[in-house]
Symmetry: C4
Subunit: 232 residues, 4 copies
């Protein structure tokens, strides 16, 4: 991708307005964001499709029947908040990004791939909420999203011509920590799913709360304000 | 969130163009609106998926079979108009908002959560339109959306740095009334669902009409024109 | 809506920049378009969900089984083109519109309501393509969309403050004709569905072609160029 | 479409600001992109709906049951990457396009038609992954998308008034090659589906990788840099 950087510099040298405008159009991130926001919007809306309206069996009241959809409702709420957390992270990341290039466009597509599996994972979790296999697959989906998010973070923050402004080392470390940590926690939840499925489920449900609290704490610390002020 | 306000002021003091641009990018509400509009678009379109094409039973004509989907068609129309009313309210609210912050971004996500349950509620209502439990759950979804809407309204209107211009007390009271009132009416419909399911259904169906008429009346009153002119 | 026009004039009189900016924000059509484009995108994509992958019965080859989904495939193609035609018309119309107001926002929502019923209509047509009732309901959906489109056209073109530039009488007549005509043809197809279901189906399928050809002819006529050049 | 070009020139001659603004509004591609991005977002998200959560049969473990959804999972991944490749191509193409006209708007709608059939094709492939008929239909969908893409490419690059800047012959040839080639490969995969279904499936799965690699190679060649630098 060395040639990318070269091209990024050349219009400035030539001072050619048309070349520069063409360059900016080609690297404009707007459609990447439209596609991503569309995918996020559809995913959080599709999640509810798995909360089925129950059919009553002989002598069963609707209230009783509704008890049975509790697990799928829980899976819906957990997955909704997880998707919300990832969307907030995507928004924070792309607020730093001024230009996209070929690598970033494809990395973002590969980020959307596991994200699109979230409704499947939620559906599996809602149907088999005590099965270690289901918990592991759900965790795998979340870890895959986190891995791709780290990949985008590293790719973008290492290319200054893609950013609005350079991050200093402390900001990069803070951002990396906030990106890597959820992935590691989900990996843990995935690994202990066989021995302790209940703990695994609690981690999936509690992670967004944990994330939210930890950012709040980090932001309130005066000294670290600079690094963590950028994250929602 | 006290530090938010501080940050909001500091770029002006420093007069640093780059810091200010970065600040504005970080608080730009555009992706919040893209996500929300996407969710609204999907929800009003998903509602129709519950109006099923009937399968004919022995000796039944299609016209007869179509009679049976009336309740789900009614639930579709009611929910469509309700979603339309909430979208109009969301648009009115965010027209006042110049910047988002962390709290507003998350409140908006938590607003979308009960909204995404609307297709489930509509499906439940279409299938069990005379069951008090179904009517109560439908009401609960509508009340939850209304509560989150009030939360966003209060959060935003109390933070002048998030708004394009300050609201005076009368405007704030008028906006709060229009946001709280539908919630209260839905709460009433929910509470009387057990004793009078029919009245409850009529309220769900009639509320948007009521809302539309009341705004029209309020806007036509010359003196109050200032407060209610802002609402669609 | 007399007060709307009054408000539209007042900022100019006062020359107050802030009031004017607030006024323009409130009447900005961008979110109306985002919602509408979202709904159109979802509808044309949902249409395919009704083309089901067949399950093979005893001794049946896949090729034979695929013959059975022909009607639903035909209903998909017809409905896709119809939706495309309506989207093009919506785009043409809103290219003339500079500002929305309360009436226009609600008329657009009521336009999206029958549009959202298109997948249901297509599903019904694909399942019962020789049943007059199915053909009549499909026609009813198309007529309802056309009626709402005429309503938006009349509402907007009668309010100069909502338009980028005034239309002269010939342009208004041409636009009205192109908006009303498809509705009338669909009404005809709906009415003859009982006596001649085959003709009715042909009209639904052939209308977009007819529309396309008629605009091409009208545009190629030198004299009328002015009126019809605005329509896609 | 001769009159289009004429209109494109006339505002310049008249120097009339209002006519020019109206002309630009009418040919603004933004809503075409919003619709297309919406359709792409929905399609890649719908693909997962065909990966069903399995119902366990007597004495079957969840792990065993999950083996059975492998083909549909493979069909999901292949179709996701194919859709990603087409989206990237659509973005590359429309980055060159400054204005749309009637022909381009309709060609784009006809491009979205086979694209919307991709979830059906993927579903068919996931259910009958060894049936030549299923492989042929999947190939037909991909070829149809490629054909429409070539049609848009030829239409747009032959109309200089629609482009930001003229392409030279080498750029046009390079772009055409990258647009035509995937279509030809898919055509081949479709044709050999009867004699070698396995090879056909491998081609569908490997094409995006091939495409990605070939662009990387072409871009790294110094001399050809000019032609292929424009493609993602």
């Amino acid at each position: 991708m060395a040639d990318e950087r070269e091209v990024a510099v050349s219009p400035t040298r030539e001072g050619d307005e048309q070349v520069r405008a063409s360059f900016e159009r080609k690297h404009d991130p707007s459609r990447v964001l439209t596609l991503s926001d569309g995918v996020f919007a559809i995913i959080i809306t599709l999640l509810v499709l798995d909360v089925h309206v129950p059919e009553l069996t002989e002598g069963q009241s609707l209230s009783e029947a509704l008890q049975e959809i509790r697990p799928s409702f829980t899976a819906f709420v957990i997955s909704f908040i997880v998707a919300g957390m990832y969307w907030v992270g995507h928004r924070d990341l792309f607020e730093m990004i001024r230009r996209t290039d070929r690598g970033l466009v494809w990395l973002n597509i590969l980020y959307l791939l596991p994200l699109c599996l979230l409704p499947f994972g939620a559906s599996l979790l809602g149907r088999y909420d005590e099965e270690p296999v289901a918990l592991r697959i759900y965790g795998l989906v979340l870890v895959a999203i986190a891995v791709m998010r780290v990949a985008i973070w590293l790719y973008a923050t290492n290319r200054s011509h893609l950013l609005w402004q350079l991050l200093d080392d402390r900001q990069r470390r803070a951002g990396l920590a906030l990106t890597v940590l959820p992935g590691l926690v989900y990996l843990l939840a995935m690994l202990i799913a066989t021995v302790a499925p209940g703990v695994s489920l609690v981690i999936y449900g509690g992670m967004p709360v944990l994330y939210f609290l930890s950012i709040t704490v980090l932001r309130s610390g005066r000294k670290r304000d600079q690094e963590y002020a950028d994250f929602t």
